[in-house]
Symmetry: C2
Subunit: 221 residues, 2 copies
Amino acid sequence: MREVFTKELEALADGLVDLGNLAVDAIKQSNKALATNDLQLAEQVITDDAQVNANQVEIDRRAVELLALQAPVAADLRIVVAALKMSVALERMGDLARHISAQVRIRYPEHAIPEAFTRIFERMGSVAERIGESMVELLSTPGLAAVPMISALDEELDALHLEVFTVIASLNADQITPSQIADVTLLARYYERFGDQAVNVAQRVDYMLSGNLDSDASSAE
Amino acid sequence: MREVFTKELEALADGLVDLGNLAVDAIKQSNKALATNDLQLAEQVITDDAQVNANQVEIDRRAVELLALQAPVAADLRIVVAALKMSVALERMGDLARHISAQVRIRYPEHAIPEAFTRIFERMGSVAERIGESMVELLSTPGLAAVPMISALDEELDALHLEVFTVIASLNADQITPSQIADVTLLARYYERFGDQAVNVAQRVDYMLSGNLDSDASSAE
C-alpha cells in the first residue's frame, strides 16, 4: 500500500514539473512572438493554453483522489496540499504567457510594442525565462537553495517593470500613442505577474519541505 | 467524532465568508478612496490587507488540520479542497483592492484618475461591489442559482474594462499624460481581475456542490 502511495505522489510531482515546463515553453514562445511579431507563433501559444488548463485539472484530480483513497499525513499531506496550490500558480503563468501572445495578435500587423521599448521587453522576457527555468528545476529537485535565486530574479523583473513606467513618463506625445502606452503597461504587468507566480511556487516548495506556512507564501508581489 | 467534523467544516466555511467580507470591505473602501481622493482611507486599506493575508493562512491551516485528523471523503473532502482553492482567490481579491488604494496613495495629492474617467470607474467600482456581495452571499448560502448572476456581473465588468481602452484611444495628447494612461490601464485591470476572482470562487462553490471540476474553474477571465 505504502509503495503505491509513493508512486502516486511521484506521479503528482511529475505532473507539476510537466505543467511548469508547459508554462516555460509558453513564455519562451510568447517572447519570440513579441520580439519578431510572429502572428502564427502567437496563435500557437493561445491554442496550446488549453493543454495547460487540462494539465491543471488532471493534477487537481489526482490530488483529490490521493486524499480520498490514501488519507496522507505529515510530509505526504504537505506535498498534496502544495500541489493543489501550485497548480493554480502554474496554470496562471500559462495564462499570462497567453496574454502576451494575445497582445501580439491584437496589434498585428503592427508591432505590439513601439521601438523605444524593444530592449526593455527583451530583458523582461529573458528574466522571465530564467525564473521559469529555475522554478522547474526546483520542482524537479526540491531544495531550498533555489528559492533565494528565484526571489532575486523576481526583484530584477520588478525593477524592469518600474523602468517601463519611467520610460512611459519620459516620452512625448508624438513618440507614442495612448493605445501603445496602454499596451506596454499591460505587457509589463504580465511579465511582472509571471515572476510573482514563480515566487509563489517556490514558496510552496519551501512549505512542502519545511511545513512553514507564512502569510507571504500566498501572495508574492 | 462525526459531529466534531461537521463543526470544523462549518468553521472552515465561516472562515471563507469572513475572508470574503474582508475583500468586499476592501474594495468598497478603495472605491471610496479613489472617488474622493482620500489618502487616509487608502492607507487604511493598505494596512488592513495584512488581516486578509492572516485570515487566508488561518483557513489553510484549518483545512490541512482537517485533512490530517479527519481524512474526509466525498462531499466533505470537496469542501476542504474547495476551501484551499478559494482562499487563494479571496486573498487575491484583497490584494487587488489594495492595489487600487496604492494608486491613490502614489498620485496623491493629484487624483489617481483624470476627470474623463471618473464616471467609468464609478461604474466599475459599483459592479465590483455587487459581484463581491453576491459572492459572499453564495459562500454564506451555497446554491447554484447565484453562479450565473456572478458571471453576468463579471461580463459587465469586462465590458467596462474594454470601454476604458476605447476612451484611452479616443483622447488627444493634451487631454491626458502618458503616466495617467498607464494608471487608468492598471486600475481597470485590477477591477477586471477582481471580477475574475469572484467568478473563480463561484465556480469552486459549483465544484463543491456538484463535484464537477471543469477546466474553466481554475482560471476565469
